[in-house]
């Protein structure tokens, strides 16, 4: 028994691992980002809230994608999930922090959302018609509900995972059953959260596909992030004996699938709106297709779909940790642009713009989030002990 414990401690990250050495850096960058953004809020409050929403939604996407992936893993199993499970759990445990980081959006609701602006509401019958759903108290109530569901899932996914580690044989079943219902709950809540927080920025416009489009983006962000983290852990740390090219191959295949899912959903939405050609639907694209935004859109077609698609076709690249991690990093960078392209044209239609607050707010949220994420990896064995899919970590093939 004690020898098993000793073996397990081999998979605990040492305190001087590069991932921990960037922690103070992340916290520093986060603190500076937050401080500068708050200073910016004094100069231009509306701009601050707009930039903050973009920064928040990007990092939020990684955590939510991780929550979905973790539950998919509990339902399906597989070595791909066993090697990223601890990192997924660590990302999921940042959800309470994200609930706190959401507060500025609540404070800025009147500045951000047209439907919360009483002067606009008075002259807009359509917004009045939608106000049974789109009103500030209900918006806050729903956000609280979403975060309550996600936090509960995060708490039990963590608690039962620890129980499993401590030898509770029923924990696997608990996790599996929780994840079954949890996946349904997350798809529903995330769809509504996407409608509330992002789609309702342009309250006249609607797309039934929007929630899934956001979910697909979250899954891609999370997978790219996890590949990046796993490559770091495998290259330089305790996972090097466990993570084989086969696992990177699987993770790469999933990332490839999410790239295609994103492209499929994006095109479906465009195709339906383009075919219908209705005046209440097309403005969303028109706002994003002129004044410079069109170049960002083209960039997304090329770098969010075409290039990663062609590169990830290759088996050799997917099996090479360093190469697949580079592709993942590239995709993460393009994910930032995609979230920017979804959000910012709502504030600056027909006219592309970047404000320095976009950068600092993104950095502020990201620094704090990364600090919390890496903190979650401390002191835990990075593999699931006795996992049958990982023979190198005590499991039996």
């Amino acid at each position: 028994m004690s020898s098993a414990m000793d073996d397990r401690s081999r998979f605990v990250l040492s305190a001087d691992h590069p991932l921990f050495r960037v922690r103070p850096l992340a916290l520093g960058a986060g603190a500076i980002g937050v401080a500068v953004s708050l200073a910016g809020a004094l100069i231009d409050t509306t701009q601050f809230f707009q930039s903050y929403l973009f920064g928040f939604l990007f990092w939020f996407g990684i955590a939510m994608g991780s929550l979905a992936l973790l539950m998919i893993y509990h339902v399906t199993g597989g070595a791909w999930g066993s090697v990223i499970r601890r990192s997924l759990e660590s990302a999921v445990r940042t959800i309470p922090l994200l609930a706190v980081l959401f507060l500025p959006v609540v404070l800025g609701v009147h500045a951000l959302y047209e439907w919360a602006d009483t002067s606009r509401l008075a002259h807009d019958p359509l917004l009045q018609h939608k106000s049974t759903y789109l009103n500030v108290p209900f918006f806050i109530f729903r956000a609280a509900l979403y975060f309550a569901v996600w936090t509960l899932l995060a708490i039990f996914l963590s608690r039962w995972s620890e129980a499993q580690e401590n030898g509770e044989p029923r924990a696997i079943g608990w996790l599996e059953n929780l994840s079954r219902g949890g996946l349904v709950a997350v798809v529903l809540t995330l769809t509504f959260a996407a409608i509330d927080w992002a789609m309702s920025l342009e309250p006249h416009w609607y797309s039934t596909l929007y929630g899934v489009l956001i979910l697909g983006g979250c899954l891609l962000s999370a997978m790219a992030f996890m590949i990046q983290v796993t490559a770091l852990l495998a290259n330089n740390g305790p996972l090097s004996s466990v993570v084989q090219p086969m696992q990177f191959h699987d993770l790469g295949k999933l990332m490839f699938a999410f790239v295609m899912l994103w492209a499929y959903l994006s095109l479906s939405q465009l195709l339906i709106i383009w075919s219908g050609n209705l005046p209440e639907e097309t403005p969303w694209y028109l706002k994003r297709m002129s004044g410079g935004w069109q170049y960002l859109g083209l960039l997304l077609i090329l770098f969010h779909f075409a290039l990663p698609f062609v590169i990830l076709l290759s088996r050799d690249i997917k099996r090479n940790a360093r190469l697949v991690a580079s592709v993942a990093l590239f995709i993460l960078c393009v994910r930032v642009l995609e979230v920017y392209w979804l959000i910012t044209p709502a504030f600056s239609p027909y006219q592309a713009r970047v404000h320095w607050l976009d950068v600092t707010a993104w950095l502020g949220v990201g620094g704090v989030w990364l600090w919390a994420f890496t903190g979650g990896l401390r002191g835990r064995a990075l593999v699931v002990w006795n996992d049958p899919s990982l023979p190198a970590a005590g499991g039996h093939a």
Binding site: M246, L267, L271, W274, S275, N277, R315
Partner: protein
């Protein structure tokens, strides 16, 4: 079992996939190249040890997909913009968004057909006769046994020597495969 029977090769039977994998590794290290393995389910390590995972099929599929893509877009361009131009709601005759689904489907169709036909063309199936079936126990290859065949065309092949090597690799049995 006389030396005059023409031989296709020698066949070793293993009860365990790990024995098969290490046997392939050993023989490849010794310089044997004309090896083939038979397993009841796909085993990735076996292809890797045999060095056969690289073949032309993936390249053919890529070309097939590319041809399907060009065919799909070309077909729609020719029919909608050249041969029978129709104005649909004032949209351009060559409207890429509308053409994407068909182009995608043609890409998938051509790629899938190339995969099946290319696989058949390259692996020689269907083959009505193959010497390995002359070994009666070979039927177990589709149940719970793992087989390794060293073909007689291998330059290192030696009826007695190769048999001794195979017998040292903890097989269940070693049999001669008559041609």
């Amino acid at each position: 079992m006389t030396a005059r029977v023409p031989l296709y090769g020698l066949m070793a039977e293993f009860a365990d996939v790990n024995h098969l994998v290490s046997a392939i590794r050993k023989l490849r290290q010794m310089g044997y190249r004309r090896l083939d393995a038979f397993t009841p389910f796909p085993v990735e390590e076996v292809w890797e040890e045999l060095g056969v995972h690289r073949n032309m099929v993936s390249f053919l599929v890529f070309c097939g997909g590319l041809a399907g893509c060009l065919f799909g877009i070309g077909l729609q361009y020719w029919t909608s913009a050249i041969d029978y131009p129709i104005n649909v709601g004032g949209r351009p005759l060559f409207s890429i968004p509308a053409f994407v689904p068909i182009t995608f489907e043609c890409t998938v169709l051509f790629a899938a057909l190339t995969a099946v036909l290319g696989m058949l063309a390259l692996n020689g199936l269907p083959a009505p006769y193959h010497p390995v079936f002359n070994v009666p126990r070979f039927a177990l290859a589709s149940r719970d046994r793992f087989f390794l065949c060293v073909e007689a065309t291998d330059p290192l092949f030696d009826r007695e020597g190769t048999r001794r090597v195979l017998e040292s690799l903890s097989p269940v049995s070693v049999a001669e495969v008559p041609d």
